[in-house]
Amino acid sequence: MDWGTILSNAAGELFSPVTAAYALAAIGLSVHFGYSGLLNFGQAGFMAIGAYAFAIPVLSFGWPTGLAFLAAIVASIVFAFILGIPTLRLRADYLAIVTIAAAEIVRYVVSTVGLTDVTGGSQGLNGYNRDFYSLNPFPDGRYGFGPWTYSANEFWVVIVGWTLVIIATVLVFLLMRSPWGRVVKGIREDEDAVRSLGKNVYSYKMQALILGGVMGALAGVIFILPRSLQPANYGTALTFFVWTALLLGGAATLLGPIVGAMIFWVVLSLTGGIINGLRDIGALSFITDGQAGQIRFIIVGLVLMIIVVFRPQGIFGNKKELSFSV
């Protein structure tokens, strides 16, 4: 087994664009679930909306990248309104059911044959990132060191992706220490109590849903920038991977979603590397190629179970805060 390559690949995942995308989506989920108590099981839907709202204007109408980013934001706001208007007046569980269904509806709609001209059907889309790469200020060459060496274009995606993660984190930091954050955290605890204190709970829940949804949509854009857009990627599994990253790190924490996403991808890469290494030396010859890929996710599931049982507040969470079952 080539441990050097395995560890190097795993370390490379720390700052990869995919990790940035997961971190951003998990921050959005943290705004929803961790701070506001909104059970959003459709973050993959927000990511899909962001990805398609970015890719389609570029490919079909030749919009510049900046405008396409804006389109992704606007589309996710509209999506949040569509989800929120009927459900945010109801109990939290209704939002969970509606979001999980809405995310699936989005995935099925974009994969329909009838829309192949626009969405690429089940084949998805590609080529929308040419304009984005043309904006790359870094000249050709290699950037970084060790496992974190990138081509100019990869480096550009990494910089943009992590810049968005940092902006989102600062935004959450500023909001959650403000009176606005106090209101949404109050809503998480008991919305009737907050209502009785003269706050428009419905409006705050909508704002939180939009804020986290926009972060999910931008995560969707970062996710597709270095690769092609595949509708199959936006199933419920994606939502639960983002949840895993969030719960690993700790739901209502600033750094939790970021570190959670890093751990998620490092563990995934490490286990994949080790299993393939063992197969190469013949130790796991009974496992097929396809099974090897799936075992990684089984291990991720086990890690999540262990964390939830032994450290339910996540890595950064406050044990005391969680120990009160409200």
Binding site: L175, R182, V183, E189, V194, G198, E321
Partner: protein, 307 residues
Amino acid sequence: MSDTAVAPTHPLVDGIVEPGCKKVDPIVVADGVTRQFGGLTAVDVQHVEIPRGAITALIGPNGAGKTTFFNLLTGFDKPNTGSWSFEGRDLARVPAFKVARSGMVRTFQLTKSLGRLSVLQNMLLGARKQPGENIFRALVPGTWRGRERDITERAEQLLARFKLDAKKDDYAASLSGGQRKLLEMARALMSEPTLVMLDEPMAGVNPALTQSLLGHIKDLKNEGMSVLFVEHDMHMVRHISDWVIVMAEGRIVAEGPPETVMSDQAVIDAYLGAHHDTDLGDMTRAEAERVHADAAREDGPDGEERP
């Protein structure tokens, strides 16, 4: 059904004391308020006025519609028919948060302290006119720091008054049941209300805290606020209320000062039975009726009645 032959009067009342009587200075006036759940009429109030600057108790057997009426007034439930005004402003079908902003603030029967916020954060949430509660202004601390200082000062004063100041940095979930009741009342006061609505303020409070809670409710009146509370504890009702409104089967069946209402035959018949010194809060209407029927026969079966 009144005991006295002479029509009774009272300083709070404009005219004769009777169910639905006019008050000299009402803060809430309700007309024709009904609320049905399926075929059941939970609330059917023809006319009622809540006096200003007084402590009014809303009593009645379980299922009388007290809490439902409370929820209607505070916007937590929508009526089938009816209208009411608060300080002359029409408040029927106005959402709960707007009702609270207009100065009518309520507490809940089961305390709703926000467990994973600190006691101080709970208090600050009660304050009105904090510009930092707007998502955009929240990003510019300069726009809300000043107000935050003011309301923190007020919160600390209130916490000191309610003897919760030592707990201000603790999570509200770590408080005892009685302390949570105090916190909820203190939090309601942060908004500087004109009418405080307390839903069973004594429920779940240990006897040691009862006296201080009663004192705090009296203080509200001394500071010029009006109080309306739902309560089962007859001692408390007798002790602190200036006015008592009795509901049964959704209607207002009697009204008056506590000493008169307690001896009103209509109330005793409908509600108190022969046991008005026992814990009536737990007595259902069916039980009350049975007790009453037993009392009327004067030779009811022994051992089945509540002690």
